[in-house]
Symmetry: C2
Subunit: 493 residues, 2 copies
Amino acid sequence: MARADSAETVTGWASRRAIDLWVVLGPSVHLAAAAQDGAIVRPVDDPSTFAIFETMRSAGVDDVRRVGVAAREVAGLGAGRRAGAGAVIGVADVSEQAAALLAAEPDAVVAEAEFADLYALRYAADRPFRPQVLLNPGPALTSEAVKRAAAGVDMCHREPEFTLLERGLREKLLRAAEVGTGWRLALMSGSGTGADEMAIRAAVRPGRRLLVVVNGVYGERLRAMAERADIGVVVSQRGWTEPADPEEIELLLASEHDVDAVAVVHHETTTGLLNPVAAIAKTAQDFDVRVVVDGVSSFGVEDLTLEESGVDFLACSSNKCLQGLPGAAFVYVSPAGLERLAEVPPTSVYLDLGAYLQGEDRGSVPFTPAIPALAALDAALDELFVVGPAEHRRRYAERAATLDAVLAGLGLEPIVAPEHRSRTVRSVPLPASLDYQPLHDELKRHGYVIYAGQGPLAKEIFRVCCMGTLEPAVLEAFGHRLGAAIERQAVPA
Amino acid sequence: MARADSAETVTGWASRRAIDLWVVLGPSVHLAAAAQDGAIVRPVDDPSTFAIFETMRSAGVDDVRRVGVAAREVAGLGAGRRAGAGAVIGVADVSEQAAALLAAEPDAVVAEAEFADLYALRYAADRPFRPQVLLNPGPALTSEAVKRAAAGVDMCHREPEFTLLERGLREKLLRAAEVGTGWRLALMSGSGTGADEMAIRAAVRPGRRLLVVVNGVYGERLRAMAERADIGVVVSQRGWTEPADPEEIELLLASEHDVDAVAVVHHETTTGLLNPVAAIAKTAQDFDVRVVVDGVSSFGVEDLTLEESGVDFLACSSNKCLQGLPGAAFVYVSPAGLERLAEVPPTSVYLDLGAYLQGEDRGSVPFTPAIPALAALDAALDELFVVGPAEHRRRYAERAATLDAVLAGLGLEPIVAPEHRSRTVRSVPLPASLDYQPLHDELKRHGYVIYAGQGPLAKEIFRVCCMGTLEPAVLEAFGHRLGAAIERQAVPA
């Protein structure tokens, strides 16, 4: 249900109601909103699984995920759950009755008069909560297995089953990064920004400074993290489409002797620009300076060798190129990074990298972990290994090539030079006379979500990103919609 | 599937396999592990939803969640998904075939020889990943609706549908707290500890100090947060079973004139001790000093009036008494708290309360939010309002009374005096000659997960907590198991 594999899938997402058949089990419920929206509504007396299946057969619906069950009694709701219905709605007009229905684990309990509002939000052909082709740079489209893992069993994080999940996840993440045994991994609950800040705070000894490359919003953010943590900074400022310059880094390291670490964003999501992390790390290594890399929107898709590269702290998140859900973030730490960490007194409790590594030693975590996000990431990595990490990168490269070809066919040239482009994000100048919002809105009506520019670029570009469970055919279909929208919205000169 | 409503449910969780019927759709797959575990295995040629339903009927299984589908082809996996099967497993012995099966969105893809390992982890009668009665202080048992919400549609956090989710969630959280229009709410991705630290960093102006009540692990943690953020502290130290003393707070505030805020844990999960937050806040208000409350394990269940109480920052999490999933945390901020925030320069990017409030103004969030955890919390609040917040608190009080009666019946007296006990956690001295681990393990075999003591209490007590979707009858059944385990394990004098 969340894999954009063809233009037909996307059209279905953009136009179809969520539920085709509503079965009212037991006492009567009036579901006018569903009927008016074109769904089939069938009353059934017998609150049993097989009665629901029979109704599906007679209505010509063969997918339980497109069947809704509404009932006023626990028996009917239970049958809906046992049948795997895509919606199970309890209906009660008195509050004690409503509370009693929770025992049957419905998706929602409403008064009959409230059904129309619930229907409009979740199930109608024009509902706001629907699958769409997410062309924003994460959260990305994720697979059914990833979502189902997030909805797995509740567990206590001090039990062996959590340790089993957590150790397996660590092992997969270390394998995905192809690092040796001296590397460690800190797993936290939060966004990539949290992981970035944790790494920055661990990398610089008191009284030393951080050299930060700034050529986009995320480089600016790394600088702010250091400044707010009272870490002095040296800035290598570049234009937003100019990659970092390793020679400039070398000159700065040669002249500023109190620099303890360099921080750089691998992929500036602001524009889709890759920074030459390998060359910077090599230079820093020559100066015995640690290297912090924001790999939040690059890890798993862009080429980066970690082992003996000079990279010491790599901050990543669960929800972008690895195709997990948002909520978990992590930092890889090199052997030299571990030595540095030991010399830096912690300046935060929640963002204390050392605490997370000590947790690892015990097969645990220092604070209540976001178990659903970890389970989802674990499932996403299983899928990554089914495909193979190298093939995963190759597919992203192929997709990016498709997207570039689609844009070129429309005469659109991304603002970043081809040799510096990532495998995911493209920043495209808005064609003359077009505004972002109407372009966005027209594409969204067809099922595609594009992304605005940030800061000074907000009025000049739009962004298209091809992370997640989507296929090249969908990018081609998107191209047709984009071309048509530009043509329709262009003001004649 | 995750509501502990009776002793029978718990016995089923502890002993039943996850899947009763495996349907092999299309080409043959050998599922020896399932057959040996007592599951029915049926080959079916026709890869259709209705063929699966017919097989269920003939096998006497009426719950699709207890049906597994294994197939070597996309068609069979697709039928399994459309039938709502509880497990959909792709089987492929060559890696290109395995990757191709992902198109059908299976839960996992394995080689035939790997099925036994997957089966042992996820589906066997003695699998580690199974529902259990979680008697630890969060993550707690959550409802099916909460889990399904976490597995909802992928969305971009800059789109109106996210704003709709986020505004609705805010409105519900503010309603649950019964605060007036001057109050604000910061929603973050992380654990309750992250929310605590964000509040601490916002509450104290440079050069001023924080008065911290320390009578448990979480009070210690608040102190560490302040110290690591370079905020001077004044400590009101109490024994771990002694509630904070408002008179001592008053004396300290009268003598230490540079104290800018008081921080106190409402419910010390360490022991199950409630601190007298209302009295402390009232005292602090008299001194015009701000109040930070850790409400992580109390909010929604313990009595606390916020409006005009003197409480200025209340940090909470999604996964305890509100019965959502872990991954989201939030801070309520009073009008006076907002004024304070404006005077405190941010000392972190990720833990900058102001940034989250600015996000609120735009109907957005500063960093990629943990959307699944937010959607789950939204669903949990819907259930809370179906029951009613006052009734929710009453039920927790009733449960705690049941638990106290159960423990008293076994001659076990919690270490916290009755008048200071919370509505959730009980710290119970280990009966003479008993060790924690064997007691824990025996109870776990019957489906109950108890929790160890922390720090110096680790060898002296065990904890029992009644958060989550569980009913008093289950606590009584737990009592019987606990009594039997104590009797069995006690060494004769």
